[in-house]
């Protein structure tokens, strides 16, 4: 029976099937844990406790969540134009280069009130520029963004290694990283921000970029569903020929969608470089760009879904660190494996369970629908 044409109510499509997919992924993750001799239920308890059980854990969870919101939104925006941006990793890295160059040049000259907005803008612009090239090449030269963004990740990595080892390295130092930026360029951390209002919370890497991430969610929602540009983006993504008939220029949409996507990915540098490390270091995107793909797939490319999926991955990262600490048999890479399973079941096999859900649905309420 071909069930792909049968329509399901929205709550089944948007809520039940995605949750079933995640359960499938977690089921297989549980099997892996059993295979290495760890009780999966015990593991879940430790993870949840590590992620939410105390203030420091919660702070770390939300700090990871911030990165995933940025990269998840980046992938989601591109997806709406039916572009697959795998280059979040490289765009975040180059975003960091933007922050680094601006701060190394200006941090002793300008006050914090100017430095911080300039730093955020630099992260976005550099990220966007790194995504502009693959976007432009797809729109005007016909090369596919999937391949070019993969290649650009490697090019970004080579470029950054060169710059950090040879150019930006702090003189007289062995490890390839830049000098610390002046404190005026540091993005306030959450415990500082709470202290302004007389509230005291534990010191964690969580900083104001979490608020910036939530603002980006609202902006992306407005952009995609409430503006003319968002309408053009979705139309061109849905059908290029329809877009042309409607007077939309699909090439321009491709380029602008990639630039916005890259700018969002570049924002990872705001959290990591401006908020936490305060200097340019190697490999700070640490796979966040790839996780963004899982986040966007799970969150069905909607900002609300992206926030929820980011939180889940925040829990997996922070809880996974706790798990690695408590159970020596488990390492942090367990989280990477779970991430792979989630991408497989929520992404590639997203429709595997649908025929079964359709059959169940038709069994429960078949007759009236057909005869009406």
């Amino acid at each position: 029976m071909n069930t792909s044409n049968i329509e399901l109510p929205a709550w089944l499509e948007v809520v039940v099937i995605p949750i079933l997919n995640i359960i499938m992924a977690l089921f297989f993750a549980g099997l892996i844990m059993l295979a290495i001799g760890v009780n999966p239920f015990e593991a879940v308890r430790i993870m949840l406790n590590g992620a939410f059980g105390y203030q420091e854990g919660l702070g770390y969870t939300l700090y990871y969540t911030t990165n995933f919101i940025f990269t998840g939104l980046a992938v989601a925006v591109a997806f709406h134009a039916s572009l697959f941006n795998i280059g979040g990793e490289g765009q975040a890295y180059i975003g960091g280069l933007g922050v680094g160059l601006v701060f190394l040049a200006l941090d002793s000259v300008l006050p914090a009130l100017l430095l911080i907005p300039i730093g955020i803008a630099a992260a976005a612009i550099f990220g966007a520029a790194w995504a502009f090239i693959p976007g432009w090449l797809q729109a005007y030269r016909g090369s596919h963004v999937v391949i070019t963004t993969i290649m650009f990740n490697f090019i970004a990595s080579a470029l950054m290694v060169y710059l950090l080892v040879n150019v930006l390295i702090k003189p007289g130092q062995m490890s390839p990283e830049s000098r610390y930026f002046e404190e005026s360029s540091w993005l306030p951390q959450m415990h500082d921000a709470f202290a302004w209002f007389g509230l005291s919370i534990t010191k964690t890497p969580l900083n104001l970029s979490f608020v910036l991430a939530l603002i980006c969610c609202v902006l992306v929602w407005i952009y995609i569903w409430r503006t003319r540009w968002g309408y053009e983006l979705r139309t061109a993504g849905f059908s290029e020929s329809a877009a042309v008939y409607a007077g939309i220029k699909p090439r321009r949409v491709v380029v602008s969608a990639m630039c916005i996507s890259g700018a969002l990915a570049g924002m990872v540098a705001v959290n990591e470089i401006m908020g936490v490390h305060h200097r340019l270091i190697m490999n700070f995107p640490a796979g966040y760009g790839f996780t963004g793909i899982a986040v966007a797939l799970m969150g069905r490319n909607h900002p609300v879904g992206v926030i929820m999926a980011s939180l889940l991955f925040g829990v997996l990262y922070q809880g996974g660190a706790e798990l690695a600490f408590e159970i020596p048999k488990i390492t942090r890479e367990m989280v990477v494996a779970v991430q792979g399973l989630i991408i497989l079941f929520s992404g590639a096999l997203a429709l595997m369970l649908r025929p079964w859900v359709v059959r169940l649905y038709l069994m429960v309420r078949p007759v009236r629908e057909v005869s009406a």
């Binding site: 071909n2 892996i32 295979a35 290495i36 001799g37 697959f84 795998i86 090449l137 030269r141 016909g142 090369s143 596919h144 999937v146 391949i147 070019t148 993969i150 290649m151 650009f152 490697f154 090019i155 080579a158 470029l159 290694v161 060169y162 040879n166 790839f290 793909i293 797939l297 048999k329 488990i330 390492t331 890479e333 367990m334 989280v335 990477v336 494996a337 779970v338 991430q339 792979g340 399973l341 991408i343 497989l344 992404g347 590639a348 096999l349 997203a350 429709l351 595997m352």
Partner: protein, 324 residues
């Protein structure tokens, strides 16, 4: 003069050793993509196979057992890719990415759980590895200037898997261009509807292609962990699966040009190590990172149509829907 010659020979020799996994993976990708299935999971399959080979060879002490399990592991992952992309018409890039990430996490998790050495497999004895083999007469001919030396330095003295890789190019060319299966394989990547109309199963052809792809990636992985090196090391593929993909595109999805692209990328890699810190005439010192990034840059430039045109199989990436 003789010194320069030995340096040249040593570089060519290194090129073959570095290019072997690239060539095997490029041929693997060729089967998959020619049948219409995008495969960015060459990297993940090779990594999983390298881990399987390293583990099994360490436990059993047999290189051949390692190779066998590596091939089976890689085929299993390839079938997951096929199950997602062919049976369930999932997004092929997403599925490939999932396999890469899964392999990257799982190899470390299982490695630490089983061997407790930070994700590495135990070092192998030479008897559990594919060691360099001397071709007949290599010793006797090494004194013959130029040609004899070429034979003993470059042609002879590789592990059996290096020769398998070169042979795989010829076999791939023969299968894809000279057999009925190859004709159907190419057709299913260009126009699956026509193949379906002719009464052939699109899914079965594509599954066959994906499984062959898995097998070749398995050999590449085994080469990394039990021939080129003496153990599996975490993330040991280090992007070579993607370089192979780039080489496949660079070779315009054809076996011989793809192999040449692999050799060129391998040569760049071999030269990068030699050029480290050595000033070149006129241009000064070339940064190693530039040479390392060159395969990717060249592929982007090629894809953008600035040096020739790379046209993919027409139906690549599009799931086939039989029912209309």
């Amino acid at each position: 003069m003789l010194d320069t010659l030995s340096t040249v020979y040593a570089t060519i020799d290194a090129t073959f050793r570095v290019s072997t996994p690239l060539i095997l993976c490029a041929m693997a990708g060729l089967f998959s993509e020619r049948s219409g299935i995008v495969d960015i999971s060459l990297e993940g399959k090779m990594l999983a196979a390298a881990f399987a080979a390293g583990s099994v060879a360490a436990v059993t002490g047999s290189a051949w057992a390692g190779l066998g399990v590596a091939i089976l592991t890689s085929i299993a992952l390839a079938l997951v890719h096929g199950f997602a992309c062919i049976t369930h018409r999932g997004n092929q890039v997403v599925s490939g990415l999932a396999i890469n990430i899964l392999a990257s996490g799982l190899t470390v998790v299982l490695g630490i759980a089983w061997f407790k050495t930070g994700g590495q497999t135990p070092s192998l004895e030479n008897s559990a590895r594919f060691m360099p083999i001397e071709l007949p007469l290599a010793g006797a001919l090494s004194d013959v200037p130029i040609i004899g030396q070429f034979y003993s330095d470059v042609v002879s003295g590789h592990s059996v898997l290096v020769y398998v890789a070169l042979l795989s190019v010829l076999v791939t060319w023969w299968v894809v261009y000279q057999t009925r299966f190859g004709l159907r394989l190419r057709a299913v990547g260009e126009n699956p509807l026509a193949v379906d109309t002719a009464g052939l199963s699109v899914s079965r052809l594509r599954f066959a292609a994906v499984a062959i792809c898995g097998g070749l990636c398995g050999i590449a992985g085994a080469y990394l962990s039990i021939s080129q090196n003496a153990s599996f090391v975490r993330e040991m593929t280090a992007g070579q699966g993607y370089i192979a993909l780039a080489a496949l595109i660079f070779g315009k999805w054809r076996p011989l040009p793809a192999m040449l692209a692999c050799l060129m990328f391998g040569f760049l890699d071999a030269v990068a190590i030699r050029l480290q810190g050595v000033p070149m005439p006129y241009i000064g010192e070339v940064p190693v990172q530039l040479i390392q990034a060159l395969p990717y840059v060249l592929t982007v430039v090629l894809l953008a149509g600035f040096i020739g045109r790379a046209i993919a199989p027409r139906a690549v990436g599009v799931p086939f829907v039989k029912e209309r």
